[in-house]
């Protein structure tokens, strides 16, 4: 069976449709989609923190109520998942930072590895400060 083509028209080309599941085709695509989804959980953690700060501001009763709510199984499950996504978010974006920023110190390009290590050092310092603030 041949397809009718008029004398001067170009042969018709074939365009492959893109599957809705394209992001499952490669591990790197999946990681990208998970990285993008992680922002939802970051937003959740920010909201959680803001609500906690407000309840602390409203006094001991309000804080106790918040802690009861936060202790429920479903909230704990969401927070565990959110923590995993926050970790993924941090690791993936730290790794990508040197690509977005070409840092130069005294006219020399900062190696990508040094930039990423620098980010973890800053993260560690901030973490230690927050721990000190909470536990002192």
């Amino acid at each position: 069976m041949s397809v009718q083509t008029s004398g001067r028209s170009r042969p018709h080309s074939y365009r492959r449709p893109v599957s809705v599941w394209w992001w499952l085709r490669k591990p790197t695509y999946l990681l990208f989609v998970l990285r993008e989804l992680s922002s939802i959980f970051i937003a959740w953690l920010v909201a959680f923190l803001v609500i906690m700060v407000f309840s602390v501001g409203r006094g001991a009763d309000s804080y106790g109520g918040f802690m009861d709510w936060a202790g429920q199984a479903w909230v704990v499950v969401i927070n565990v998942v959110a923590f995993a996504f926050a970790a993924l978010h941090t690791v993936t974006w730290f790794l990508l930072t040197p690509k977005a920023m070409a840092l130069r110190v005294r006219g020399r390009a900062v190696p990508a590895r040094a930039a990423v290590i620098g980010e973890y050092v800053v993260l560690a310092i901030v973490t230690v400060f927050v721990l000190w603030l909470v536990l002192r």
Binding site: M1, S2, V3, T5, P11, H12, S13, Y14, R15, R16, V18, W22, W23, R25, K26, T28, Y29, F32, E36, L96, K99, A100, M101, A102, G107
Partner: protein, 256 residues
């Protein structure tokens, strides 16, 4: 049996599963398998040439330099956009090796894709040196550059327009209007050139939604680039500059 035939018999072989599409007869592509010799120094392109020369002269594909310079022989090998001249059959042993046309482009025939879209987009980002000081007297001498100035853009100048990055980019697959990795990386190459003064003109084109901001930083373009151009990095750095430019335009409205 001659000695030669006996040697051929003893030789290991590998199966190529090649996508075929005949525009005048087929409504969609199908796969055809070929047995080709598995030799240590044979690339996928050598395998295809063997098919063309010895098994099936109707197979169509593009190639030229067979040494990773011309950028013609890009294909999906084992699902990954690759230069078929730089991808060894032995890496896929015992096979089979899936050989498909590049994704995200219309297929003209077999492994040949239509890259007209890219060729139309490329000049819109003005990938050449732009001077705003009028006609330059070529006899006045060269524009000298220091090694550091050369270093600033040389990585992005290695692009061979092989289209592997477009094939790897899911954004381009979903939205064919996206300017795409290679074109933006080439624009950045000229922005970073100390002799160039055209960054403003290029930004006017690339600041559109289908330009820089179409990119969601999947990063697959960089992973498949055979010349280590790193288009993902070029685009993110470009975005940073565009954002700074926008902030400056708000804070300093009089074009300062």
């Amino acid at each position: 049996m001659t000695l030669q035939a006996a040697a051929r018999e003893a030789e290991e072989s590998i199966t190529l599963e090649v996508t075929r599409y005949e525009p005048d007869g087929d409504t969609e592509p199908h796969t055809q398998s070929y047995e080709v010799p598995l030799r240590k120094d044979w690339t996928v392109l050598d395998g295809l040439n063997y098919v063309k020369n010895s098994l099936d002269p109707s197979l169509s594909y593009r190639w030229s330099c067979r040494m990773g310079v011309c950028g013609s022989c890009g294909m999906n090998v084992g699902g990954r956009p690759s230069l078929s001249c730089g991808t060894f059959l032995s890496d896929f042993a015992p096979g089979p090796v899936r050989v498909e046309p590049l994704s995200n482009f219309p297929v003209i025939r077999d492994l040949v894709v239509d890259i007209t879209d890219f060729l139309e987009k490329l000049p819109t980002v003005k990938p050449w040196i732009i001077r705003d000081d009028g006609d330059v007297d070529v006899h006045a001498g060269e524009f000298l550059q220091t090694p550091a100035e050369l270093d600033a853009y040389s990585q992005f100048s290695s692009c061979i327009n092989c289209m592997l990055c477009y094939s790897a980019c899911p954004v381009y697959g979903l939205d064919p209007d996206f300017t795409g990795p290679a074109a933006i990386a080439l624009a950045e190459r000229y922005n970073l050139d100390s002799r160039d003064q055209g960054a403003r003109e290029r930004l006017d084109v690339l600041i559109e939604r289908e330009g820089l901001w179409g990119c969601t930083f999947v990063g697959e373009c960089t992973r498949v680039c055979p010349k280590h151009v790193d288009p993902a990095s070029a685009i993110q750095r470009y975005k940073l500059k565009a954002a700074q430019e926008s902030v400056r335009a708000v804070l300093l409205p009089r074009g300062a």
